[in-house]
Symmetry: C2
Subunit: 225 residues, 2 copies
Amino acid sequence: MPAERPFASLRLEHSSTVDRVAEELRRAVFEGELESGTPLREVALAESLGVSRSTVREALTVLVAEGLAVREPHRGVAVATPQAASVRDVCAARWVLEGAGVRAWQAASSDQRAHVHETLDAYTSAVRAGASYQELNARHLAFHVSLVALVGSPRLVSMAEGLMDELRLALAQVERINRNAHDQAETHTALVRLLDEDDVEAAHRFLRAHLVDAEEEIVHALGLV
Amino acid sequence: MPAERPFASLRLEHSSTVDRVAEELRRAVFEGELESGTPLREVALAESLGVSRSTVREALTVLVAEGLAVREPHRGVAVATPQAASVRDVCAARWVLEGAGVRAWQAASSDQRAHVHETLDAYTSAVRAGASYQELNARHLAFHVSLVALVGSPRLVSMAEGLMDELRLALAQVERINRNAHDQAETHTALVRLLDEDDVEAAHRFLRAHLVDAEEEIVHALGLV
DNA sequence: GTGGCTCATATTGTCTGACAATCAGACATT
DNA sequence: AATGTCTGATTGTCAGACAATATGAGCCAC
């Protein structure tokens, strides 16, 4: 019987100008090129990127929606400045999402569990390969997103991705000055080992401790900036 | 000792034109004036609202970000069509958030617990007063958001608000045809009673059942549309 | 010096008008 | 029926304009 959408797997991304500008700004933020608080002037960006002001405005709206920048009426958009309070909030939220993911381990599909292993492998091999801060952060946080994905809700996943983007911003600001991205490969491997043993309770407690540690470390590092 | 932001609570909303347009579109969607799938043409909206096309575009971007509308490249924005799958996803996500809220009951502040009572009262009195569908939906969902607020994370709250907006869209579409918004005041009162008795476990199970019911009901009603 | 005033400048918020790229539907061709 | 072509509608992006508002400097009074 013929499928009703024979070529459903084919897809080509139609990157709009706005998307490209937003991506470039995101990159600059995560790369630490833009210090937190830096104002993002519309005309200056438009000229330097060779696009119109309207396009820049739309891209800035995206950044603001993602929490990477803040807009104040008639004062413009600036790179967000991570505060201790907002980091704690992000961590509280991620604990809810990731904790739910871990609890869903046994109910999760084998694909979802495999995906956790994949993101862990990607992280640990990046650590071994001595990858850049940005890549380590990205892979580390991707692992945590894969935990949330165990719940099986696309919306929860995109929420988690948004939270991780905010963390990446905070980490980028911290690492501009203090490059202390230490190796956490064993910690995560241990977490997954607990999951593989189906000891969900222990994994849950372990994750809790890990997230609390991460929160304290980021907040502490922020205090030094 | 003087606070560092003495009048932080004061705030006067400088409603921008974009905000007003977005609010008007939101209202029209929740009111059921716009059937799901209705294309939102930029020029037509601009003329009928008396604003420029750029302003309409920015407002539409907001609606799309909120999940109330979908944009397809070069084809424009249309009112989102709630699918069974997306409703189930929203419900899975809200279960994670609201469940975490209920579990946080005992650790929550008295303000937060009082807020749950307030939103419940607002809902039940609206029921008694025979309020409109829209108002009942809004107050009903505001109660559920107040559960999430027990966690104490602003970001989780705004995530929950986003989910509820999507549900309001779905409800508005089913109620365009089938007005079956039945009274759920007792259910919610019972839930809060369990919380007041600090029987968090029972409240958790009760909430679970309530959310499953709600999901099935909405999905079923959607099937009739 | 502090506090308050006016004013010039920069920037945003919004509008108008334009044009190419793309899409949807009708129509013609094979 | 499937394919190619034309036409109109709509979006994506651009350029330029103007009013409202915020920022900062200078100036004045005390």
